[in-house]
Symmetry: C2
Subunit: 413 residues, 2 copies
């Protein structure tokens, strides 16, 4: 008997008919002899509706109360799913974040999970029930409701799977797996059967919407066997996330991702004193703004320019937060551009090969696409370009790395 | 500095504009130097929407999961109200039933409050915050969400006022107080400035929709000073619930109430053995069906007929629950009629006067209205009649007891 965690997003529970469909999937897994825990999001549109209500109040919001309002969406979907399962003659029990103690820190609207108390869930599983858990939400040390941020239900599911030492975590979504790039942009994109945690992490953090980055980080940390598959296609085999293996090593580049959700900020004329950068990024950290790429050139005449990217939704807040400190540290000016895109080539094979950067830059320049920023990790190369070239750049790189072909048939490097 | 509990129903928080209006009322009370706790219902229509979702699942529902779904409505309204108050520059904190521990029994969808932990609320009040509490919901000993039944927010507010030893509990509603009868039926109905707990209890339990019966029971038990007033009319002085006083004694009948929410069931040919009635009503009790009026005549030829009323919504369930037991105890038949109305005359003055019953029965018979059942308490007389005569009966009795006149000007008895 295996323990399977299933996760269904808002679209999958968007109507009573769809909720019944999810109930049948959970029951099918249960009937095949497994214990089943299901993590669900709010019904599609519901979280947006709740956020709109909060925002209707003069645009102001208190983050604690925001979490109280928006976490109500999952409460409805878990109760409905449990009701649907019970109506089909099976036992089901639903739990909210505070009931099974998804303990988080107190960072409202983007809280991080610390631990999950699993005994209550285990007791119900042992009693033959299918357990339904609200995704996206938790409780802090003071008993306040917290939420994990948009898309947090993936993270809830993987955290549950880790806490319960589940045999598999099936993330049901509206695509049938992870592709070499976005099929809406490049029709030749291919579905991968297997992808490493590291590659998926880069794909997710670089804009592939299939899984939330944090959920992949968690999966990697606890080696949770995560499978991404379609909730619509019953024959979907999906894509399995695994640790690297020898086979993977042969593949140079696995996929191309893009991200239009960042904005670029440059601080001009930063005095070249120790601790200045720490001060600046400390301010952004205090405001819970994530900084992604950072570039700082060598110092010229005692001053330098620092460029970095932040989530586009935090762009205005970041500019405002930096306004005063910039004056205090004596920097000259802050400029920014929200209309950028980040394009990335990802592959564990890069670790042992060179030449990927060259292929990438050459292909882009041949199409006349100017590169504004470059950032690299062991298994990815990202460039920031003008947003309007996004689709062209994706198709160009997919072609350049021959991602439409099976790995064995490729010649690029 | 007084401590005031305010309660606002679904209509009062039915839109963001109305929620802002409620925020201003809470702030006004706070600004006049008082500590303020606000209990709120779900936005109007929301609970119905959630119930409809549950019922869309083949009409089946599991009561535990039903409570999970429907209690989400208040979660949204408390968060929005707290946000609105904060947006106006005041401190506010919202709490769900489980957070301030509205401890209830485990009777899902009609749970009863056992106790409320008030320390968390007091701490916030002492820190200068306006505290918002979700009405209608609680938590049982096993940590499951419970709800108090429709209209339970009144009960939440009064229970809060009792637990906090509040100086007043203001129940805001869409009428400006308690009337001698329903003004929609009898335009001559008069608003009362004061009414005793006992009279209000009878009014509420007999169908006057102003306050939920359980909230009045609680108010009486803990002598909570409850005021019913209009949320729409800023000049509303409302009706105050008080203990009886000498002035009241002079009034014979204070009001006329009606109730179309009951159904009549008669069990024919019940064997006249000890314990048979206990068996029958025990079965209904186990099914959580409240029995109201009960009539049993003297036994004829070893058998008797028992007639009683139940909530109309439980009518079908009651007939079904009795089906088998009726055969086992050897009763002849069950018959019923859902189309009845209960009309009641209420007044603490009845205790020391006779003649009220006579006036009532005579007035009804002059209009040709047949009386099917009669039930009396120290301060009320209720009759069951054919539902179609409801309005006529109400107007007839309002006239007969001269309720349109000030108490001192009346001559009836």
């Amino acid at each position: 008997m295996a323990l399977i965690v299933q996760k269904f997003g808002g679209t999958s529970v968007g109507s009573i008919d769809r909720i019944k469909n999810v109930a049948r999937k959970a029951i099918a897994e249960f009937e095949s002899g497994n214990q089943v825990v299901v993590a669900v999001s709010a019904m599609s549109g519901e979280t947006n509706r709740l956020v709109a209500l909060v925002e209707e109040i003069t645009g102001f919001y208190n983050k604690r109360e925001y979490d109280v309002v928006v976490s109500a969406g999952e409460q409805v979907s878990i109760g409905l799913l449990a009701t649907a399962i019970e109506s089909m003659g099976y036992k089901a029990r639903s739990y909210l974040g505070w009931q099974v103690r998804f303990r988080t820190d107190g960072a409202h609207s983007k809280a991080r999970i610390r631990e999950i108390e699993s005994f209550r869930i285990r007791k119900d599983l042992d009693a033959g029930a299918i357990v339904i858990v609200a995704g996206f939400q938790g409780i802090d040390d003071d008993g306040n409701i917290t939420t994990l941020g948009r898309g947090g239900s993936d993270t809830s599911a993987v955290a549950l799977a880790a806490a319960l030492k589940a045999d598999r975590c099936d993330i049901y979504t509206d695509v049938d797996g992870v592709y070499t790039t976005d099929p809406r942009i490049e029709p030749k994109a291919r579905k991968m059967d297997v992808i490493s945690y590291d590659e998926m992490l880069e794909m997710a953090s670089l804009g592939a919407k299939v899984l939330q980055t944090r959920s992949v980080e968690l999966a990697k940390k606890y080696t949770v066997p995560v499978r991404v598959l379609s909730s619509l296609d019953p024959n979907s085999t999906g894509t399995m996330l695994t640790k690297e293996n020898a086979m993977m090593e042969q593949v140079l580049v696995s996929g191309v991702a893009y991200d239009k959700n960042e904005a670029k900020i440059t601080i001009l004329g930063v005095p070249d004193h120790p601790g200045v950068a720490a001060t600046l990024f400390g301010i952004l950290g205090d405001a819970h703004i994530n900084v992604d790429m950072i570039i700082q050139n060598i110092s010229v005449q005692g001053g330098t320019d620092v460029t970095f990217t932040v989530p586009r939704t935090d762009y205005a807040q970041a500019l405002k937060a930096l306004e005063e400190p910039i004056k205090q540290i004596g920097a000259r000016e802050v400029v920014g551009d929200p209309d950028i895109a980040k394009i990335s080539a990802i592959g564990v094979g890069m670790r042992s090969h060179s030449g990927v950067a060259q292929t990438m830059f050459k292909a882009l320049s041949q199409e006349g696409i100017n590169i504004q920023m470059i950032s690299t990790s062991e298994i990815k190369i990202s460039v920031v370009i003008d947003e309007k070239y996004t689709e062209l750049a994706v198709r160009t790189l997919h072609d350049a790395f021959e991602l439409d072909k099976d790995a064995g048939d490729r010649v690029t490097g």
